[in-house]
């Protein structure tokens, strides 16, 4: 697996003024990597993620997944939405089976994979519940395993914990890490939270608020599961916080 983001440019035109959100963004994600795009709000990080997903197009540049240009959304790139976007009219079971049905996976195989995914996400016994009946954490895990169901090459996550309060967030980060360590799918995640970036990622890429330029591409060399109170962990956090402040200053 290799995801190449090549010279991506994206601008919007507002009141006849061109507003550049991404300028010449390039990097490569290797197989099995957990990469986080960190940046202040409005820095175009979600735009970049949706371009990789194929929900919108770049004005310039291209996205290559295993050498093939990305043109539109597809099951090789699983997407976890900020608000989860679980289908409320389907039970947990049907939500997770849905992508497999679209892949025309044989029934027995789909049932097996469903069972495996429910186990990984500790959702066994919840399969007949509707999304409305789930807690925030269960919704998030359902959204993640639904995106994993079609065995995507890369999992794209748009602030998957954005809608959750602080304490719950830490618990869910741990759950997410545990889930990821079992599955080891390549992940590209977007967040504005430094702690979340350090806790989850192998590599953090910082985008500037103005014009979406890469300010930093940092490897997080820490053992998993990560310890939030370790010295190294906090050094990474401080470094990234400084860079993020710089990123914010560039706007004003």
């Amino acid at each position: 697996m290799k995801l190449e983001i090549k010279n991506i440019n994206k601008y919007f035109i507002n009141d006849k003024k061109t507003h550049e959100v991404l300028s010449d963004v390039s990097f490569t994600v290797q197989g099995g990597e957990f990469v986080t795009i960190l940046g202040p709000s409005g820095c175009g990080k979600t735009t970049l993620l949706t371009i990789v997903a194929g929900f919108q197009h770049a004005n310039n540049g291209e996205i290559l997944l295993n050498g093939n240009a990305v043109k539109k959304p597809g099951p090789d790139r699983g997407f976890v939405f900020q608000n989860y976007a679980l289908f409320p009219w389907m039970t947990v079971r049907k939500n997770i089976l849905y992508p497999m049905k679209q892949q025309k996976l044989p029934k027995t195989e789909a049932e097996e994979r469903l069972k495996y995914l429910l186990e990984v996400a500790q959702l066994d016994g919840k399969e007949e519940l509707y999304p409305n009946q789930l807690s925030g954490g269960m919704k998030q895990r359902t959204a993640v395993i639904r995106a994993l169901a079609s065995k995507p090459e890369v999992l794209l996550m748009d602030e998957p914990l954005g809608a959750v309060d602080f304490q719950m967030r830490q618990i869910l980060q741990e759950e997410l890490e545990a889930l990821w360590m079992k599955d080891k799918t390549t992940v590209m995640m977007v967040t504005h939270d430094v702690d979340e970036a350090v806790y989850l990622s192998d590599r953090v890429i910082v985008l500037s608020a103005n014009g979406g330029i890469i300010l930093e591409d940092m490897k997080i060399d820490l053992e998993r599961p990560r310890q939030r109170d370790s010295e190294k962990y906090n050094i990474y956090k401080e470094k990234l916080t400084k860079i993020l402040k710089l990123a914010l200053k560039k706007t004003s």
């Binding site: 929900f55 679209q102 007949e128 509707y130 995106a147 079609s150």
Partner: protein, 273 residues
Amino acid sequence: MQSPESKVCVYNSTNKLNTGLIKNRVIENLYKLLMYGVIFILWFALAKHYNNSLLLPTPAKTISALGSCLVSAEVMANLLLTIKRVLLGFLIAFVIGVPLGFLMGYFKTAEKLLGGFINSIRQVPIMAWVPLTIVWFGIGDGPTLFLIAFSGVFPIILNTVEGVKNISKDYYNAAKSMGASRWSIFIDIIVPSTIPNILTGSRIAVSSGWMSVICAEFIATSAGLGFSMVEAQTRMETEVLIALMILSAIVGYCIDRVIQFANKSLTKWRFVQ
């Protein structure tokens, strides 16, 4: 498929909800009963005061007329005919309205093309169509069916359009990123998320159909509940006339409840806790 644990959890929450609901329902029904009591006493007093059963028969007389209506084969045949007309007219409205609603909700061009026309034609008061429909279809089922379908089709179209437009873009993107075909997006995303709106439109359509059918039957038919009412009026049986009015209210209420029931069972996911 469900573990015992999660079952218990679901039952517990609904139980707690149920006791609260029952308590509310009892109080609500008490108020209703009180109101009906006041109306009946007032009715009785007025009837006694005017002492003219052509103007206002007593409640007792009306209720006994209602009883004899319920066992009269003729009235029942007329009632069934009217119900049949409403259901058939509604079906026509549904079959035309839902696809049009989907088209107009999903394709901007379709909405631009049809929206203006629909908005202007629905401003014509429904009863203003009666003379023209008699010219077109003659006396009988034709005009009534046309009026029911015509009055019902707009709420169905407008609600369906709104439902389709309100679907979150994330659902489309989610489905696409899971490799969904266009057909699957329609059948698995658009249809289920629009069902609540379609049912709301249907509810309005049936009740407006039920209202316009009686009126249409006064003029444009020689059978049906509306026709029975005109007959009762001609025969100067005011108690029968009022009994038939009460009967039509009861039937309308029952139809509404059936749709509400359909709503709850078709969109279970909205009502689970």
